[in-house]
Structure formats: structure tokens, C-alpha cells
Symmetry: C2
């Protein structure tokens, strides 16, 4: 989005909110011509901003647009690391791919890439992630935790947990976490996480944690193949959800958990994760390539691995596709 | 190295070895002019090849050069995956960096990068690795094991173990492995391993396993700062070591272990590794950033982590700098 729109939106939002600003005042404060301000205001209406003028011609924001743009994401966001650098795109192949490029060029921890639409959204194990325009939150954050390689997969658990917390606190929804990193509501998948890592064995250089959150989809917004299994926050609530507000809540939760992780690792969060786990205590089938493990999911250990017991034998599973056996 | 030299060396080595080849025969077989063959033979002498001519003017190889060049590395190498693609450099910044570039452009598993000299050789945790011309084996291999992220650090253990096996079988030397991935002989560090990984949490995209092996150094070949702690195979043997033969043995050992790892993971190799470990059974101090852990090193677990016991408390350590406490 244009810088001028950002600057105008910021002025209208944060200074003299009640009074409003005339076109002339905006032009003078921002040091640009009145026609340029006028053009920017027209563009803002196009984007979905509600702008009202008082009798004296002073302009105020009456409605924020449901758009993944800097000003709106940052409005009221209370994070310290996350979104300090924010890259917003209308359309992108994959937010993870772009974030990895940025990380490789040295982008700081907390840098975020977000897109209204992903044309090549990626999920785990090379799968694609359906990411239609404006219906979800397709977002990636660059993290640089000072941990050895083995600890990195904890980040996926953290992201899933942050989603569960935000859905609960913002919308009163109960999220079931399906190890390793899916979030389900009423049995439908609403969240997917893809964490990608560049590392030496002793230390992570960077991790990119990508989260796909289905927000405003109706059942018919999903392709046929996903219609039985996928859901959205709106479907779970039964009413439309403020996508930007939810995103801000999620970023804030995720940052809080991540700051704890940097200090104390994953251990303090495991009980919370286990409590929300769909699998623990149930008979499960886990496939891992051509391997299949059956048994009772008894815990998730401090490495984020699922422990499955079959008779007296415990199997430690680091990755795989798990399903409940009774279903 | 020039292709023509490669081709000539290959002919001289593998066909009609006893009889030798005249310049005219070489020119005709390779389809190039006699002056070009003559020039290539001169270049080969420059490189260190010993070439003798029979009375009839037929040329034979009497001595192979101590050079990291395709023909010499491949001569008698019995690997199936490793070195199928081989990139040899006279001088390179870092073999790992080059291998990562190749891996990112899709280079196959087993692709190897080797250099006579590294001008920016890298060790663990951002340290540098002294890599002077022709004295060592500075080499990296691209691996694409189908394992989750957490299993990747096993590769460093494998490389260290492959070194220990080759030093024992080729030179009769006993190697002590210092967790996680140093190789010491008579208390002097001869091997360092740096494994770098690109992955999602569920699967490794690729790993580049770099090994620095000090072969022909005399004490004065090391900078002052390393002179008390670093050693070489030649120093340990007391005589000069055939660098190429050792490299071939190492590649062969490493591939054998790696093929086992792809099938069964690290577990089958752990007992062997533990047996050679410098730390196990001793009081150790492990530093990890600003953290220090003291205790008795009791085992290395199936994730490659060092387990240190202090009183009744076991600490699982994935990365760090370990030293023996009594020293």
C-alpha cells in the first residue's frame, strides 16, 4: 500500500480523532499537495475505509477496512518484537518462501510477511494450503531463537497454542490441537502451521513459522475436497469475525509464548498443549512415510515428540500423520 | 581441472596400464591434436603426476599427485551415492557454503564439494576452521535423508564415526570422539564436523555435512593459537599419510554408515559411538551460551543428546562445548 495512505490513516486514527482533519490540514502536515491528499482519500474509500466529513469539511475514519495492510494491522497492536518489520502483500506465492528470502538477507527477528492471497500456499510435507483472497490469515514470522536444532520444532507447537489461546479469549471457541500442529474446532481444521528452519546442529540460524488460519470462509468457499474436513472461525462462531482484530490477538499471544520459549524452552507450555490435545489418551494410527504405528497416544514429550504405547513398547514419534483409531 | 587431463589420466590408469600409450594413440583415441595432448601431459607433470616413457615412447603413470582432483579421488573409489557428482576446487571460501548453494539448486544426494584450500573455512558456532592448501581434507557432502528435523544431528555423529573407522582401518590409529562431533588423536583435535540443515519440522530438505580433517600438518603448520590443541594424521602416525587414499576410505566408510542410517536411524551406531566417546563416564563441564552444566556424562541418547547427571538430576544436552573436569 502507498505510504501516503498509511500516513493519512495514521493521522486520522491517532491524532485529533474526534475533531477530524481537513484536506488542507492533511496536505500541510504531510507536506504534499491537496490534490494528492484528495486522491489518497479516494483510494482509501476504494480500500474499504469509511470516511465521513463534518460540516466544516473535517474528515474522520468511521470504519476500518478488512484488509491486511500495515496501518490496520499495527493499529492497537501491542507486540514488541513481532511486526516491528511488516511486509504486506496483496498476492504472493507463499508467505513462508518470501519470509525465508528475507531471513536469508538478514531480516530481523519478528519480521512478518502477510498476504491477502497465496497463489502457492504451502502446507506440511509439500502439500498445498488453500489460501483464497481475504478469507484467512496467511502469515509468516521470522524467528531467531538461540536454541539447538532439536528444539526448533517446539515453535510449531507454540504457534498452535497461540491460536488456541486467541480463539478462546477473543471468540470463546474451544480449539483441539492435533499433534503436531493442526488446530481443529468442532472437528474441522481451521489452523495449519508450517515451520521451516535453516540451522547447524548446534544452533538455529533462523526459523520461519507460517500459519494459515481460516477466518471468514463459508463451507462453499472451500474446494470440494476440503469441504468435509475444513472449517473457519466464522463457521465455528456462526457470525462474521473481525479478521484484523483476531490477527492482532494471535500475534500478541504468539509473541508472549515465544518470549517464554526463548527464556525457558518448551517445557512450561507442554501441560497446556497436552490438555488441548485431540490425541492423548486415545488409540491412534500414525503414518510416517510407509511406516505405520498403532497404539495409545500417551504423552507429548519435552522434545515435542508424540509417545505412542503399544503393549509394553513405547515409540517416540517426531513427525507423521496421526488419526484417531475409533473414527 | 581440465577435462582433457582427466580423460588422459583415466586412460593411462584404467586401460592398457602396463603397455602405456603413445602421444599419437592418445590423440587419436580422444579426438584431439597431438600438440594438445603434449601440452596436457606437460600440465600433468606440473600437477605432480609422475609419467615415464617406454623405449617406444609409450607413456605410463608412475606416481599419482597428492591433489584433490576428480580422477585421483575417483580412482578406486567404491561408493555408490557419494561422489557421483564431484566438485573439486583449488581454492574456495567454504566447501559447506558452496554445497548449500548446490543443494538449493537441486544437486543430488551424495554430491561432494572438496577444495585444496578454504579461505573462509567454517566450524561450529560461527568459528573459523584453519584450512591451509594441500594439508588436509576440506570436504562437504549433500545428504537428503528422509527423516524429521530432530534426526538430522545424527549425521554429525555418523561423520565422526566414519572418521574413527577410517583412521583405525587405514592407519591403525585410535580416535577419541568428543561429543558432539570432534575427533581427537592423542588428545589433539584432528577432525571437525559442521552439519548444516534446511528443513521443515517434519522432514529434512537437505543437510550439508562438512568435515575438516587435518592430514599432513606438522606442528609448525598450525597458527600459534592452535599449536597446543590441534594435530594431524601425519603427526599421529609419525610418517606422511596418503591423503587421497585416506579420503577415499573415509568416503566409503561414511557412505556405508549413512546407508544404514537411512534404513534404521542412528540407534544401531550409538554403542559404537559411545565406546569411542572421550566424555562418557567422566565428570564434565558443558557450556551452552551463558549456561554451564556440570556433572557426570552418563550416556548419549538416541537423539544424539549428551546426558549429564548431577546428583539425582539428569540434564539432556543437545548442543554445547564439553570439557573434562579433571583436566
Amino acid at each position: 500500500m502507498e505510504t501516503l495512505i498509511n500516513e493519512i490513516a495514521l493521522l486520522l486514527r491517532t491524532r485529533r480523532v474526534a475533531l477530524g482533519w481537513t484536506t488542507a490540514e492533511l496536505a500541510e502536515t504531510l507536506g504534499v499537495s491537496r490534490p494528492r491528499v484528495q486522491k489518497a482519500l479516494d483510494d482509501m474509500r476504494e480500500l474499504g475505509y469509511g470516511l465521513s466529513a463534518t460540516g466544516a469539511g473535517a474528515i474522520r475514519i468511521t470504519r476500518a477496512p478488512d484488509r491486511m495492510i500495515d496501518t490496520e494491522i499495527l493499529a492497537g497492536l501491542k507486540t514488541r518484537i513481532f511486526a516491528k518489520n511488516l511486509h504486506c502483500y496483496n498476492r504472493l506465492g507463499s508467505t513462508n518462501t518470501r519470509a525465508i528470502e528475507l531471513a536469508e538477507s538478514g531480516a530481523a527477528e519478528g519480521t512478518i510477511v502477510v498476504a491477502e492471497e497465496q497463489t502457492g500456499g504451502r502446507g506440511r510435507l509439500g502439500r498445498n494450503w488453500h489460501s483464497p483472497p481475504r478469507l484467512g490469515i496467511w502469515s509468516s514470522v521470522i524467528l531467531r531463537p538461540q536454541v539447538p536444532l532439536q528444539r526448533a520444532s517446539g515453535l510449531s507447537l507454540l504457534a498452535a497454542l497461540a491460536f488456541a489461546h486467541s480463539a478462546e479469549s477473543e471468540l470463546g471457541l474451544k480449539v483441539d490441537l492435533k499433534w503436531p500442529n493442526d488446530g481443529l474446532i468442532d472437528g474441522r481444521k481451521v489452523l495449519g502451521v508450517l515451520t521451516e528452519v535453516s540451522a547447524e546442529t548446534d544452533q538455529v540460524y533462523f526459523a520461519v513459522c507460517g500459519t494459515g488460519i481460516n477466518v471468514s470462509h463459508l463451507p462453499t468457499d472451500f474446494p470440494q475436497s476440503l469441504r468435509q474436513t475444513a472449517g473457519s472461525l466464522a463457521m465455528a462462531c456462526g457470525y462474521s469475525v473481525d479478521r484484523l482484530a483476531f490477527y492482532r490477538a494471535f500475534l500478541s499471544q504468539f509473541e508472549t509464548l515465544y518470549r517464554g520459549f526463548r527464556r525457558d524452552g518448551i517445557a512450561p507450555f507442554l501441560d497446556d498443549y497436552r490438555k488441548r490435545s485431540l490425541l492423548l489418551g486415545h488409540e491412534v494410527i500414525v503414518t510416517q512415510g510407509h511406516l505405520t504405528i498403532q497404539g495409545r497416544a500417551i504423552t507429548i514429550d519435552e522434545n515435542g515428540a508424540l509417545i505412542v504405547r503399544d503393549g509394553r513398547k513405547n515409540t517416540v514419534i517426531f513427525a507423521g500423520e496421526a488419526t484417531l483409531r475409533e473414527q
